[in-house]
């Protein structure tokens, strides 16, 4: 069931061992090791646990050291069908949880835009979903977890026991130890269908109006056509999507397997501002001004999962993701400037997503979500041109006192990290001295 996706991130080609993250910017030439406790404890040098490698940047990569893949740790350890408490090994994929528990009427409390992430990865990035404004992050639903430290200690942490280590581990980028198992609270559903509404909007102010009017919907998100923005005007078009689990009992069917696979790298520049502009226009006009309907949870939460290896569309040089959150009071002006800068750069983001984060504080010391508007963009890697653009965007984030998401980052500097994550100093005390990642080597305050 799950394993075929496991290696789907590995580009085909030469026969040397190679693995990479979802952004495919950098390949690692030494193989990953299946996680086992003994080799983990006896390994010399730096180590890192990896999940399903769905992070875009380098937080799941380790160029110099030993990476342990957690994916074969995929047993379900305990399940209470009365309370919905589920204890799983960290390598279990969200896909696996849905397959086994949707038929029993339970759903993930928080889910990202792909179901092919591991529970360990979900903890390490304290992932958020379309319901952040209502419930917070994945971390809010973790009742306990077990951490294996490189000194041989095994520590169970929860909001009440070893709570400092718990807070450091949630969103802790895998740096506090290897997450062995996690206990989470699932949420009850009566149907696998979603009641959904799609509403067209023009300009970020109109988005904000819709957003305020939709705050009682459990799930909200917006798709944005960043090519439609006109300079100086907050005019970008988009589709506002809001939904909730269908409240009446009906079928509890699980998702189907993906049926399409991108077989090879598309030529560089397949995605350019013209093709992206065209695609976005078509998509926008596909929707009437206001549409209502029901949809299975799979296309609602995971539209991209239908297409295996869709990251190959960006060409062999890979892609940069950019996700930031900006406090509400600066978000409108900042995003408008960002869209102007992107247009001026001649580059374009194929999939742009806009969403508001609510006021529930994140648990993790390094958790990304905080109250404000979050914007997610992607750019095919065009070398220095793209890096220059990202640098400009980063400066805007800093000026607006926002932050970037490490799961989608490959360029953050040490200085930026300190400013984005003011808790870094407290975090250092809980970091496992033997664990590191390429991301951490780049940003760690020294």
């Amino acid at each position: 069931m799950v394993v075929m996706y496991r290696n789907s991130t590995i580009p085909t080609g030469a026969m040397t061992p190679m693995w990479t993250s979802w952004g495919r910017l950098l390949s690692i030439e030494t193989p990953q090791h299946p996680f086992r406790k003994k080799p983990f404890l006896s390994t010399n040098g730096t180590i890192l646990a990896t999940g399903n490698l769905k992070s875009y940047g380098d937080s799941c990569l380790l160029s110099n050291g030993t990476a342990f893949s957690m994916l074969f740790q995929d047993n379900i350890l305990a399940w209470n069908p009365q309370s919905g408490r589920l204890k799983v090994e960290a390598g279990v994929l969200l896909d696996h949880i849905l397959q086994n528990f949707v038929p029993e009427g339970w759903f993930l409390p928080v889910t990202p835009g792909t179901k092919y992430v591991s529970v360990g990865g979900a903890v390490a990035n304290d992932i958020h979903g379309k319901n952040h404004h209502r419930v917070g992050t994945f971390g809010h639903f973790i009742t306990s977890l077990k951490l294996l430290r490189s000194n041989g200690e095994a520590i169970v942490c929860s909001p009440s026991a070893n709570s400092n280590l718990f807070q450091a581990t949630i969103g802790g980028l895998g740096l506090t130890g290897i997450i062995d198992w996690v206990e989470i609270q699932l949420i009850p559903i009566k149907s696998s269908l979603m009641d959904v509404e799609w509403l067209r909007f023009e300009g970020i102010p109109e988005f904000l109006e819709l957003n305020t009017a939709s705050s009682h919907y459990d799930y909200t998100v917006s798709w944005l056509d960043c090519t439609s923005s006109k300079k100086g005007k907050a005019s970008a078009k988009g589709i506002y999507i809001r939904g909730r689990h269908h409240p009446d009992p009906s079928c509890l069917s699980i998702h189907k397997k993906p049926y399409l696979k991108i077989p090879f790298n598309f030529p560089d520049l397949t995605l350019n501002k013209y093709t992206i502009g065209m695609f976005n226009k078509l998509y926008y006009h596909h929707f009437p001004k206001h549409k209502k309907g029901t949809q299975h949870y799979d296309p609602f939460f995971y539209p991209l999962d239908q297409l295996i290896d869709w990251n190959l569309i960006y060409g062999k040089r890979g892609l940069y993701q950019f996700q930031c959150v900006i406090p509400f009071k600066h978000s409108l002006s900042t995003f408008q400037t960002m869209l102007d800068i992107i247009a001026a750069s001649g580059q374009a983001s194929f999939l742009s997503v806009l969403k508001s984060f609510g006021s529930i504080p994140s648990i993790g010391l390094l958790s990304f979500p905080e109250e404000g508007l979050t914007l997610c963009l992607d750019f095919a890697n065009q070398g220095i041109k793209t890096l220059t653009l990202l640098k400009q965007l980063d400066e805007l984030v800093l000026a607006a006192r926002g932050r970037r998401y490490p799961a989608k980052d490959a360029t953050m500097t040490r200085n930026q990290f300190k400013q984005f994550y003011p808790n870094w100093n407290t975090f250092l005390a809980y970091k496992d001295p033997k664990i590191s990642s390429d991301f951490w080597e780049r940003v760690s305050p020294q």
Partner: protein
């Protein structure tokens, strides 16, 4: 397996239950009528698999910790298994090690380890189980060998010869047990994405353990003698076996 009928209670004994292929197979076989006796060397990993099977509502799960490569303990292991079940409907053997051919050439302890783990110990365990199946006059034995056992290749002929020897052993056992109505299946997987092969770069020829497990269930149901998994390996191996040595020696396979 005499029957995959979900209404019949059946006992599945797995030697090497912590293997990725075994885990996938066990999950697929699991229902309220299956009793499992799982043998492996890693107690914690066995316990985790047991928890998983409890949630999947298996009828019962027993675990035994044993070093299966220890030929002198084969009798003891089989006795421990038989103390936990009255009958074996399916004996599934999945343990094995790949080993490093180049390293083994430098140190024959490794050569011995590869041959013992993949052949000698399996042969000993099977010999201990044979009289049990003779008496039962029913049941199936399914053992994982490998396509690597079909032709000796410079890169892994130590492992290959052990698996090839095992395939020959199973062929004989199948002949011997046929008169007792016992089914013996030889499973020859190609490339499977498991911990054993984590150092290899994956490509188009690779299959998931789940896919291999489905193939094993199907072959058991059809009472096949021997099966390549996925099926296309049958054709690949026909060609590989046909290549004359003069040409074969020019390859790096």
């Amino acid at each position: 397996m005499t029957n995959l009928d979900p209404d019949l209670i059946q006992t599945i004994v797995v030697l090497g239950a912590t293997s990725a292929i075994a885990k996938a197979f066990i999950r697929q076989c699991c229902n309220a009528q299956t009793k499992f006796v799982l043998v492996g060397r890693d107690e914690e990993a066995l316990d985790a698999i047991k928890s998983d099977l409890i949630i999947r509502k298996a009828r019962s799960i027993e675990t035994i910790v044993a070093d299966l490569a220890d030929c002198f303990r084969a009798k003891e292991t089989v006795q421990a298994v038989m103390a936990r079940c009255s009958r074996v409907d399916l004996l599934f053997i999945s343990y094995g090690i790949l080993g490093d051919n180049a390293e083994a050439l430098k140190d024959n302890v490794l050569t011995q380890e590869i041959i013992t783990s993949n052949f000698t110990s399996v042969a000993c365990l099977l010999s201990e189980f044979t009289p049990i199946f003779e008496k039962q006059k029913t049941g199936s034995i399914a053992v994982i060998t490998s396509v690597a056992g079909d032709r000796g290749r410079q890169s892994n002929y130590i492992y290959g010869s052990a698996k090839g020897g095992l395939a020959l052993f199973l062929q004989g056992l199948r002949h011997y047990l046929s008169k007792y109505g016992v089914h013996v299946l030889t499973i020859k997987p190609g490339f499977v994405d498991t911990p054993m092969t984590s150092a290899f770069k994956k490509g188009l020829l690779w299959a998931s353990p789940e896919k291999i497990a489905r193939g094993i269930r199907h072959a058991l149901l059809k009472k096949k003698s021997s099966v390549y998994l996925p099926g296309f390996w049958k054709w690949i191996m026909i060609i590989i076996k046909l290549v004359p040595e003069s040409i074969f020696h020019k390859t790096k396979l």
